[in-house]
Amino acid sequence: MSNFGLLRANLHRHPVRTYLTLLSVLVAFLLFGLLRTLAVWFGSGPAEGASVDRLVVSAKYSIIDMLPISQMNAIVGVDGVAAVTHQSWFGGNYQDGRSFFPKFPVEPRSYFAMFPELRIDPAHLDAFERTRTGAVVPESMLADFGWQLGDKIPIEADIWPMADGNRIWEFDLVGTYTTDSEGQGGVFLFHYHFFEEARGFAKGTVGWYTVRIEDPDRAAEVANAIDVTFENSMNPTKTATEDEFGKAFAAQIGDLGLMATGILSAVFFTVLLLTGNTMTQALRERIPELAVLKTLGFGNARVAWLVLGESVLLCVVGGVLGIGLAALFTPVATAFLPQFGPSALAFAWQTAATGVGVAILLGVVVGAVPAMNAGRLSIAEALRRS
């Protein structure tokens, strides 16, 4: 047996209590891992798939507000702008919402010209352009949903019912495209003209524009020129790089940074109380045993270290498991982020390192007082009480 064996044996004294405490530590660090990953994502630079020569133009005060399509011509006229296309958030459910994927009405030709990383067979693009109710999807979605070209795909509207009150939009699957970039994948694209004709309200509007600029070094200047153009119109705009736009969209869901801090504080406070209680209890019921260790010649410092080690071990095991789970869940969490946020979530090793550091700290904070008491314990008195 080793010192470590002694620590482990002590933790097995009340397996249920130990595992419950471990679970609470684990959950705290799972949350920590996921929220840190989100925070890292917000703070990251342009990620894979985000282009530096593209800007996104959205409504100034809320990304959810629509913009008039008439702005497109004005944007093309801004100095430094090479091309423009637009997209809109359609929402909608396929199969009662059991499978989520974003759906955008777009102008086929200008859209695929804007995003060369989305590769489409020219014949499919032609078919898409010709077919009023046409739709194209990433090739991988065919297998995911068992679709074939020529299928009719019904989508139930939530935001956009048709003008005649019908909520079911039916699209003809006329083509597929491929992409290497995770962030841009998974979008169901359909014809803007069909959307424009059939929708019941807000005709003549789009969600946001994507703009290609001639010179990436002038991105800030061009973005500013676009915003100045519409500054005093009914529809002022906010122009950002693709990467900023993706993050702004996610931020709209809630102030994630603040929320994360709030949640983490509450969770760690609770865990501190729980583990603190566990360790205090563990110490109280073990006073005679600690006294016996001292009679055997274990020094005060050694006994204190044993108690501290137990608390650190508990927190580190819980922390490592929680952070490991967070790393496993990160790809899953990515699926719940807006698909046009260009960067995918990535679990950073810094998050793991910080987490382990926090776990050790938690163990020390929780174990410090019991450890000091254990070290100070007087043998003769402790034995008399047993």
Binding site: M1, S2, N3, G5, L6, A9, N10, H12, R13, P288, E289, V292, L293, K294, T295, L296, G297, F298, G299, N300, A301, I379, A380, L383, R384, S386
Partner: protein, 227 residues
């Protein structure tokens, strides 16, 4: 040669702000290889005296020299190290760690030595075989009888090969038959392994196993009877 030498030892406890003098000038010499039984009424200070001899508690006044060490002069840390090397303790209620099996309980004192894991295991097995419990090595204290637990405790007390065994009512919680076994075991350790044994007991029969019987009453050693 004397291995335990106490001269004019006093011990006073503070009880509800009142000083209670429990030991009032104890003079005691125990030779190497002796087997001393310490008797006396409950509350007479027997445990207190054993604690002082074993370095678990300090005397209020007087000199305590055990195995060539003046205990008063040792720091806490030195005292712990001295205890590990010098004294094996056996208690009335065995005081084994319930989460560890017999083998691991016996190995505990060896965690303080430089022995390898393999050597610790082997020494613990040897100690268990001396008390006749090799076949119970993997049992936890809760799975052993009182007599067996006390034998594990004795194995733990001798595993680091200390010269002195300090036993506080080692048979106080056992039936006659088990008590006899434990006393025989202590006698063997004294006779064949050269351990100096000092044992508190209430049982006159237990005292029969000792070479010397001391009586403690009202804080004083009142008589010494040759066994």
């Amino acid at each position: 040669m004397a291995i335990i030498e106490l001269s004019d030892v006093h011990k006073t406890f503070m009880k509800a702000r009142e000083a209670v003098e429990v030991l009032m000038g104890i003079d005691l010499t125990v030779g190497e290889g002796d087997f001393v039984a310490l008797m006396g009424p409950s509350g007479s200070g027997k445990t207190t005296l054993l604690n002082i001899i074993g370095g678990l508690d300090g005397a209020t006044a007087g000199e305590v020299v055990v195995a060539d060490a003046n205990l008063d002069e040792l720091s806490n840390r030195e005292l712990a190290r001295w205890r590990a090397a010098t004294i094996g303790f056996v208690f009335q209620f065995y005081n084994l760690l319930p989460v560890l099996n017999a083998q691991r309980n016996v190995e505990l004192p060896l965690l303080l030595t430089k022995l390898s894991g393999e050597q610790r295991r082997r020494n613990a097995q040897t100690a268990l075989s001396i008390v006749g419990l090799n076949d119970r090595a993997r049992h936890k204290p809760g799975e052993l009888s009182g007599g067996q637990q006390q034998r594990v405790a004795i194995a733990r007390a001798i595993v680091a090969d200390p010269p002195i065994l300090v036993c506080d009512e080692p048979t106080g919680d056992l039936d006659r038959e088990n008590a006899e076994e434990i006393l025989d075991l202590l006698q063997i350790l004294n006779r064949d392994h050269g351990k100096t044994v000092i044992m508190v007991t209430h049982d006159p029969k237990a005292a029969d196993h000792a070479k010397r019987v001391l009586h403690l009453d009202k804080g004083k050693l009142v008589q010494e009877v040759a066994a």
